[in-house]
C-alpha cells in the first residue's frame, strides 16, 4: 500500500507512506500548541482543580490524544495523489475535502522538507509552489527521497519544454543547464554559525521551537536561584543593600541575561543553518540546511530581484557579512525574522566571498565596491528639525511640568545631542551609485548594508520633493521592486534624473522580463 521508490506516471491514485501519520500528528499538535498558548493562564488558574481530579483529567487527556491519533490516521487514509504526464493531483481532507489539480508548467518552485522523524526512513515532504495565491499550493507528504528527486526532474523537464515552445532564445539557453549537475558554492561550518548567532539575533528561532516549554522555564528560573542561595528580592532591595551593590547586581544580571540570550541565538542559528550548503545547478541556487528539519530552498536566478550585503556592528568587528538574495515577495510579507521562502541568506561569510557570490548571481555587480556618492547634508538638518527637536521639546516640557526648568534644559539638550549623533551617523552611511546595469544603495547606522538591483527589474518608481527640498534642488526617490522597495532620500535632482529616467528607459526599452 505504500508508494514504491519509482516515479509512476500511470494516472492511478496512490496512497502515501504510513509514516505520514506522524507528520499529520505533528502538524495537528503544532497547530493546537499555537492555539493553546493563549489558554495557558486559564490552565494555571484551573491547575489545582486539575490536580485534585486526576480521575477526570487523565482519561480526558488520553482520550484527546487518541482522538488526535485517530484524526492523523484518518488524514493519512484520505490522502491520495495521482500523477499523469503533465499534472499532479492531490486529494486530501476529512471534513473539508480538497482536490488540488496542478499542471507541472504552473509549478514555480519545488522545495524539500525533511523533518527529523523522516530522516531515518529517508522520506521527505515535497512542497510545490505556484506563482499566485497561497491557496493553490500543494504539498506531497511523505514520499521517498529518490522518488521526490525523480519527480522534481520530471517537473523541471516539463517546464523547460514548455518554456522552449513558448518563447525562443533565452529559455533555450536555460534548459540544458537547468538539469545540470550541482556545484557547491558555499558551505558554512559550525564555527561560522556560532559567529552568525552572536552577531545576529536568531533567538526567535529558538524561542519559536521552545515556546511550549516557556512558562515552565520562567517558573523554574526563580526556584533555581533560590536553590543556589540567591534571593532575588533581597538582592534588588535598595534599602538594605545600597545603590552601588544594586547597580552591580543589575549589571551582572544584565550580563548574564545577555550571555543567555546570545547562547539562545547561537542555538537558533545552528538549528536553522546546520550543515549549510549553497549550490548552483544550472541557473538555480539551492540552499540546504537545518539540524532537525532539513530545508531545501531553491531560487531560479532569473527570479532574483535584489542582493543585500549586510554588516551589523559586530559583523564589522569580526569582518563578516550576511548576504541575502531576494526574490519576488508579493503577497508573502512573512513574519519578522522568520526565514521566508522568498529570501535566500548566506550567513556570516567573509566580505570577499560575499562579493564573489554576488558576482556569480549578478555578473558585473560592484555591490559594496561601487563608487558611492553621499546624500546631501540637509538630511541631518531635516531629521533634527522634524524629529529630534520636537521630541526634545516634548520631553523637556514633560520634565519641566514635573520638576524644574534646569532639569528640563538638561534633558532637552541630551536628546538633541543624541539626535545629532544619530543623524550624523546615519547620514554618513547613506550613499547611492548607479552604472548602466545596476543601482546600488548604501545605508546603515552603526552597521552598514549595501543593496543592489538590476535596473530592468524595476516595477515602479516614485520621486518626491518637499517644499524644503525644492529650495535646495533635492529630492527623494523610491524604487519599487518585486522584492520590496528601496529608497534614497535627499539626493540632488541631477542624480535623481539619471537614476529615474535611466532606469525607466532600461526597463521599458530592454524588453527583458523581471522574472
Amino acid at each position: 500500500m505504500s508508494s514504491e521508490p519509482i516515479a509512476h506516471n500511470d494516472g492511478e491514485w496512490h496512497r502515501i507512506s504510513p509514516i505520514a501519520v506522524v507528520f499529520f500528528l505533528a502538524k495537528t499538535l503544532k497547530q493546537l500548541g499555537g492555539q493553546f498558548i493563549y489558554l495557558v493562564p486559564a490552565f494555571l488558574v484551573l491547575g489545582n482543580s486539575i490536580k485534585e481530579n486526576p480521575g477526570v483529567t487523565i482519561p480526558g487527556l488520553l482520550g484527546l490524544l487518541l482522538l488526535l491519533i485517530g484524526f492523523a490516521v484518518a488524514s493519512f487514509l484520505v490522502y491520495r495523489y495521482r500523477l499523469t504526464d503533465d499534472t499532479i493531483e492531490i486529494r486530501s481532507g476529512i471534513f473539508n475535502k480538497t482536490q488540488t489539480h496542478l499542471p507541472f508548467t504552473r509549478i514555480q518552485n519545488i522545495r524539500f522538507e525533511q523533518p527529523i522523524y523522516y530522516r531515518i526512513s529517508d522520506y521527505c515532504c515535497m512542497q510545490l509552489d505556484t506563482a499566485g495565491s497561497a491557496k493553490n499550493e500543494a504539498k506531497l507528504i511523505a514520499i521517498k527521497m529518490d522518488h521526490a528527486v525523480a519527480l522534481k526532474e520530471t517537473i523541471l523537464g516539463a517546464r523547460a519544454e514548455e518554456a522552449t515552445l513558448k518563447d525562443g532564445a533565452n529559455s533555450k539557453a536555460e534548459e540544458p543547464q537547468a538539469l545540470a549537475d550541482e556545484v557547491v558554492l558555499n558551505r558554512r561550518s559550525v564555527m561560522d554559525l556560532v559567529i552568525h548567532g552572536l552577531t545576529n539575533n536568531r533567538i526567535w528561532i529558538f524561542l519559536g521551537a521552545a515556546a511550549p516549554l516557556f512558562d515552565e522555564f520562567a517558573d523554574s528560573i526563580g526556584s533555581a536561584f533560590s536553590y543556589i542561595g540567591i534571593d532575588l528580592q533581597q538582592l534588588f532591595d535598595v534599602d538594605s543593600q545600597g545603590y552601588a551593590v544594586v547597580a552591580l547586581a543589575a549589571l551582572s544580571f544584565t550580563m548574564i541575561a545577555m550571555m543567555i540570550l546570545a547562547l539562545f541565538s547561537v542555538a537558533g542559528s545552528i538549528l536553522t543553518y546546520y550543515g549549510y550548503t549553497l549550490s548552483r545547478a544550472g541557473n538555480r541556487y539551492i540552499r540546504r540546511s537545518g539540524l532537525l528539519t532539513k530545508h531545501e530552498v531553491a531560487l531560479p536566478l532569473r527570479r532574483l530581484q535584489s542582493i543585500e550585503f549586510k554588516q551589523d556592528w559586530l559583523d564589522l568587528v569580526l569582518k563578516r557579512v550576511n548576504l541575502t538574495f531576494k526574490q519576488n515577495q508579493t503577497g508573502n510579507p512573512g513574519q519578522p525574522g522568520v526565514e521566508s521562502n522568498s529570501k535566500l541568506i548566506v550567513p556570516s561569510v567573509y566580505p570577499d566571498e560575499a562579493y564573489d557570490l554576488a558576482n556569480d548571481a549578478m555578473p558585473g555587480t560592484q555591490l559594496n565596491r561601487a563608487a558611492f556618492k553621499s546624500i546631501h547634508s540637509r538630511f541631518m538638518i531635516s531629521k533634527m528639525l522634524f524629529l529630534w527637536i520636537p521630541i526634545s521639546l516634548l520631553a523637556s516640557a514633560v520634565v519641566w511640568l514635573n520638576t524644574d526648568w534646569l532639569k528640563a534644559i538638561e534633558v532637552g539638550a541630551a536628546i538633541v545631542a543624541l539626535g545629532a549623533l544619530v543623524s550624523y551617523l546615519r547620514w554618513r552611511r547613506w550613499g547611492f551609485s548607479g552604472d548602466e546595469q545596476f543601482v546600488y544603495v548604501r545605508k546603515g547606522f552603526i552597521g552598514v548594508s549595501y543593496k543592489c538591483f538590476e535596473r530592468h527589474k524595476l516595477q515602479q518608481i516614485s520621486q518626491s520633493q518637499s517644499w524644503f527640498m525644492r529650495r535646495r534642488n533635492l529630492c527623494k526617490i523610491q524604487f519599487v521592486l518585486a522584492s520590496g522597495s528601496i529608497s534614497i532620500p535627499y539626493l540632488p535632482v541631477a542624480d535623481a534624473v539619471d537614476l529615474v529616467d535611466g532606469s525607466l528607459f532600461i526597463t521599458e526599452s530592454s524588453g527583458k522580463s523581471w522574472m
Partner: protein, 177 residues
C-alpha cells in the same frame, strides 16, 4: 546571457520632469469638496450638540464629549482644507511606455509605472463616481499592494480608453508563468 549595454547620456533620455501633465476632472474636485464640506458640517453639528445639549443631558459626559467633538472637527477641517488645496494639483500623464501620476501639496510626489510591468488593471467606480461619470484607474504590478498605481478622477470613458491602451500594449499583462 546576452546583454546590450549601449552607453546613455542623461540628456538623450526621455525625462519625467519634461512631461506635460493633465489635471484630474473638475467634477472629481467638486465631488471631493462637497464630501469634505459635508463631513465638516456634520462635525460642527456634533460640536454644537456636545456644547449645548450634552451638558444639560448627561453632565458626566460633558468634558469627554467636548474634547472628542473638538478633535473630530479639527481633523475634518484639516483634511478638508488640505483636499481643497491639494486636489487641483493632482495630475497624470501617459507616455508610450509608462503612466505617471503627480500629487501632493507640501510634498510633490511623482509616481511612474512602466506599462511592461503592469500585471493587471482595474477601472473602479463607486456609487457617487458613477453619478458623475467618474472613475479610478488601478494598475497592479509585482511591487505589491502597497504600491498599486492609482489615478483617481478620470472620466469613465477616458479610464476605459487608458485601460484599452495598456492592455493593447504588446508587453503588458503578459501571462508570466
Amino acid at each position: 546571457m546576452e546583454f546590450n549595454n549601449a552607453a546613455l547620456s542623461p540628456d538623450s533620455l526621455p525625462q519625467i520632469s519634461q512631461l506635460s501633465f493633465s489635471p484630474v476632472e473638475a467634477d472629481y474636485i467638486k465631488v471631493r469638496r462637497i464630501i469634505t464640506s459635508t463631513v465638516v458640517v456634520v462635525c460642527l453639528a456634533l460640536l454644537a450638540v456636545a456644547w449645548l445639549i450634552i451638558p444639560d443631558w448627561v453632565s458626566a459626559a460633558e468634558i469627554p464629549a467636548k474634547i472628542v467633538s473638538a478633535v473630530l472637527l479639527g481633523i475634518s477641517l484639516i483634511i478638508a482644507i488640505y483636499c481643497w488645496l491639494a486636489d487641483p494639483k493632482k495630475c497624470f500623464a501617459l507616455r508610450d511606455h509608462d503612466l505617471s501620476y503627480q500629487s501632493g501639496l507640501i510634498v510633490r510626489k511623482t509616481i511612474t509605472q512602466p506599462i511592461t510591468r503592469v500585471q493587471h488593471i482595474e477601472v473602479k467606480q463607486g456609487p457617487i463616481e458613477r453619478r458623475y461619470n467618474l472613475a479610478c484607474l488601478l494598475a497592479y504590478s509585482a511591487g505589491g499592494h502597497m504600491h498599486t498605481f492609482v489615478i483617481p478622477g478620470l472620466r469613465f470613458e477616458e479610464a476605459k480608453q487608458m485601460r484599452a491602451f495598456i492592455l493593447d500594449h504588446k508587453e503588458a499583462v503578459r501571462d508570466e508563468q
